[in-house]
């Protein structure tokens, strides 16, 4: 069995041929495209370490079959920084010390990027409780939640402020 598959990954068209339909999006990214930023934690949709954006929405890459996503656009943590310039959410995680071991961090950051987009689209108020609730699909076994929450709140407020400036301009 050989299954051709095309994904747009971080803006770049990637053609793959799967020999087996069992390959998840996470395994396609890590094992075939060698994008190992997305992490395999539980591999069962419980920890969020594999979080990526598919067509702009955050999902668990471990629970999606790659073959079913043929034609989709995927954003991973590797695509966030522009050269040496970190994405604002990455910078916020550093500024607020939002990690300890770092294993969950790519998933946390991609989830935060997705959450901030969702909040912007919904015009939702940014507060600590809504951010915590919105990030509950990402576990951190080091327990760096305090810093993670501060980082996401800060990045969300900065995003909201830039949106206000864009509207005013």
């Amino acid at each position: 069995m050989s299954i051709p598959l095309t994904l747009t990954v971080n803006g770049e068209r990637r053609d793959l041929v799967l020999e087996d339909p069992r390959v998840t999006l996470l395994d396609a990214l890590r094992e075939r495209l060698h994008l190992t930023g997305s992490k395999k934690g539980c591999d069962r949709g419980q920890c969020g370490a594999c979080t990526v954006l598919v067509d702009g929405r955050r999902v668990n890459a471990c629970l999606a079959l790659a073959v079913s996503l043929d034609g989709a656009s995927v954003e991973t943590v590797e695509g966030l920084a522009k050269g040496d310039a970190l994405h604002p959410v990455q910078a916020a995680f550093i500024a607020h010390d939002g990690f300890q071991c770092g294993f969950c961090t790519p998933g946390q950051i991609m989830s935060a990027v997705g959450l901030i987009r969702e909040m912007r689209e919904a015009g939702e108020e940014i507060d600590v409780e809504r951010v915590r609730e919105g990030m509950s699909g990402n576990l951190c076994r080091c327990g760096a939640y305090a810093g993670i929450t501060e980082a996401v709140v800060d990045a969300a407020r900065a995003d909201s402020a830039s949106e206000t400036r864009e509207k005013a301009a």
Partner: protein, 352 residues
Amino acid sequence: MNLFEYTRAASIAEAVTAASEPGAAYLAAGTNLIDLMKGGIATPSRLVDITRLPGLDRIEPQPDGSTRIGALVRNSDLARNAHVAKTYPMVAEALLAGASAQLRNAATTAGNLMQRTRCAYFYDPASPCNKREPGAGCQAIGGATRIHAVLGWSDRCIATHPSDLCVPLAALGALVEIEDAGGRRTVPIGDFHLLPGDHPERETVLEPGALVTAVILPPEAAAFAGHARYLKVRDRTSYAFATASAAAALTLDGGRIGAARLALGGVAPKPWRVAEAEDALSGASPDDAAFARAAAALVAGAKPSGPENAFKVELARRTVMRALALARAGTPTRMPALPASPFSHAAGAIHA
């Protein structure tokens, strides 16, 4: 995960034909199915991918006042849809209280109806389970039963249905639209899920190959928008299945209850709705005494399926009481920061 054939269906007819083959299963987001396959619990020989089927991803208000929700509408899109959030607020609140944001972005409406129980013995291939293997026995009975049923269970199976969405759908009398080789039909959601009885392996009325194409909220479901809440009691504030949950909706007319809708989740093999409980509220003053009568009627006949879940009878009763009190207070103008949570920092929150 076992090897399977993969078919991407281009039409409903093609999907139904492919899925009628023994061993075939439908794949939408796969958030439950892929997990079950990784654990060796589900072993389909063919997956029929329905994600490209046209027309099933729409939310369509109808001229008669009903709303048709396509089977492939994602949980997050349903919850954030302005018409749904305004007209059926407890549907939105239940959705946002379920799973995680990542799962809600993927999981579909029909997939929510079709999700399997979270019984740990069902998930453990080493444990006998009558759902997985009819006649094998049930390891949950006599085991760790804290999350198991207190209503509707049988001596073959004590598992619960884990859905949040299905609870307000049941309360609002939703219809499930089904397409199979014989054509299209609708089934009330109350008849869609089956009690375990002697055949816990049969969980829904669907015959092999049958496809859920939509969920329809009938015209009368729109009457409850002003007083409708979902309340979910769980072991952690977010990203946990319900220990007990309740959907409660009222119409209030001159200090009296006009109509009432009520259903329980997390405590039975299907969303639990009892006509007597709603009858106890119709025409009554919306006070705690009426709520107590309704809650008692809803949990009538409840019986622990193990010593560890005896507390759930009283928890279910109190959850219903509190959901009714929240519904009486009125649907909040904004979705709470913690949807359906008994914990709230909001001023004036009811802590029954």
